[in-house]
């Protein structure tokens, strides 16, 4: 196979698929703003079309303003918070929001591609790509460059399924709360 053929056959569909996935992820990612007039303090994931948004506990410690993918700002009420898991649940008054497809973090393999969307350094819905570095029950480590502002945003697999919420950077690695933990949190706090 000549190099030119390779680009046509593999790289272009890959780039197109990545761009499609990034756009889909951006639609389910919200920007979380502080109480003041400042910019984004983090990100969040639309978990349910009826207005449930998940983010990190360290991003939302009370009611906040979120900016939806269509650019509209909404007041969001903090309805649950779990500092140990670093998860918080927000509710906005909405129906039919584009919501994330949630994947199974327990099925992740080391080496799988992952994508993150967030608001690093004030950039709105910026994409980073990397791969699964290691998987544990409480955390997914990803070889992926994050920055402050990615917190609470989605970590998704190659199919666009959200497998975690990015929570911090440790030793250059992205650390995400696994989707299994997030499901458990939603079950315990909101459906109990």
């Amino acid at each position: 196979m000549s190099p030119a053929t390779t680009v046509d056959a593999v790289l272009e569909p890959l780039a197109a698929a990545a761009a499609g996935l990034a756009a889909r992820l951006a639609r389910v990612t919200v920007e979380v703003r502080g109480r003041g007039r400042g910019g984004a303090v983090g990100a969040g994931v639309v978990w349910h079309p009826d207005g449930l948004i998940l983010t990190n506990a360290h991003v939302a410690s009370g009611d906040v303003t979120v900016v939806l993918a269509d650019g509209s700002p909404r007041r969001a009420r903090l309805v649950a918070r779990d500092v140990r898991r670093d998860l918080a649940a927000l509710v906005v008054d909405a129906t039919d929001l584009p919501a994330a497809l949630v994947g199974d973090s327990g099925a992740l393999r080391v080496g799988e591609l992952v994508l993150a969307v967030g608001n690093p350094l004030g950039l709105v819905r910026a994409l980073s790509a990397g791969l699964v570095h290691a998987v544990g029950p409480r955390a997914i480590h990803a070889d992926l460059r994050l920055a402050p502002g990615n917190s609470g945003g989605p970590l998704a697999d190659a199919q666009g399924h959200v497998v975690g919420l990015n929570a911090m950077i440790a030793g250059g690695l992205a650390v995400a709360v696994p989707s299994r933990e997030a499901r458990q949190f939603v079950r315990e706090q909101l459906q109990g």
Binding site: L21, L113, G130, A158, G160
Partner: protein, 300 residues
């Protein structure tokens, strides 16, 4: 979407193919390093991560620890070879580092397994490390070598090992030693327990020579190395080199720093004769030195 998913599956597959021959090497306090099961019972790792010579263990992915014996080490190329009895995991599948191209997607793996993803950022010709090791090819990586990744494999898209990653040879960039070099050094360490390097038995310090002197003597370059120590009865002493001589040319090549001298003293030069041009008492002097073999650390 299909393209992304198949790339993702291929990457995870490459990790799974390479992972069974990776071990954790416990040879320093706190953080283990990574080792590659190179051939049955032989594990290779990065020398700078081996701080102890006794009580070494390697740990396979299933968590079993086994005692390991240090067979030999080569600080020059930052490689160490361990022997492990009853290591019932598959040896690494080796690829061809000659087929690497800039831009190729590669993975660096650490024990666990843990993975890091990137590309070959540059390839270069044969080079010499600051410690005198001869590396067949420069392989520079655009990826992150996380703590504990030194000694682990650089893996191509097919899951074959094409190099051994180390952060011990340069400060600023991430490098892999090509499998060709690893294979050569492992063979030599298994055969002799060490890698030969040429040796003159002198201590040197770089100096600048005044322009009038350089012009009068017709010297190349703008400096040389002043001899500050001569090992009694060493190769240089036997050739008549003296304290205070300034070495200007070695083996036909102008020398301005220690690396220039190291570069003329590969293992293949042991036993051969090199010419040295020195400045002694304001005049040129030429000497013939028979290159010796560098004594090993700790050897008597």
């Amino acid at each position: 979407m299909e393209a992304l998913l198949s790339l993702s599956n291929d990457l995870a597959g490459a990790v799974e193919r390479a992972a069974p021959s990776i071990v954790a090497v416990h040879a320093r306090r706190r953080l283990p390093s990574t080792g590659i099961h190179w051939r049955p019972g032989i594990v290779v790792t990065a020398d700078h991560t081996v701080r102890a010579e006794d009580g070494l263990t390697v740990e396979t992915a299933d968590g079993r620890a086994r005692p390991a014996a240090l067979v030999g080490r080569d600080p020059g190329s930052d490689l160490a070879v361990l022997r492990v009895a009853d290591l019932d995991i598959a040896p690494a599948a080796l690829g061809d580092d000659g087929a690497l191209r800039v831009g190729h997607m590669v993975l660096a793996l650490g024990y666990g397994p843990r993975a890091s993803w990137g590309v070959i950022s540059a390839l270069g010709p044969r080079w010499r490390t600051w410690r005198g090791g001869e590396i067949d090819r420069l392989v520079r990586l655009d990826l992150v070598l996380y703590p504990g990744f030194s000694g682990g494999p650089l893996v191509d898209a097919a899951g074959r090992v094409v190099g051994l990653n180390t952060s011990g040879l340069t400060r600023e960039s991430r490098l892999a030693l090509p499998v060709t070099t690893v294979a050569r050094v492992v063979d030599e360490l298994l055969r002799k327990g060490h890698v030969s390097r040429g040796y003159l038995g002198i201590g040197m310090q770089p100096v600048r020579l005044p322009e009038p002197l350089r012009a009068r003597l017709g010297l190349p370059g703008d400096g040389g190395l002043i001899i500050v120590m001569v090992e009694p009865d060493g190769p240089a002493a036997r050739a008549g080199l003296m304290l205070g001589d300034v070495l200007v040319v070695l083996d036909g090549v102008p020398v301005g720093d220690l690396e220039d001298v190291q570069a003329r003293l590969g293992g293949d030069r042991v036993g051969t004769t090199v010419t040295a041009l020195v400045v002694r008492a304001g005049a040129r002097a030429e000497l013939s030195i028979t290159v010796g073999e560098r004594p090993r650390r700790g050897a008597s």
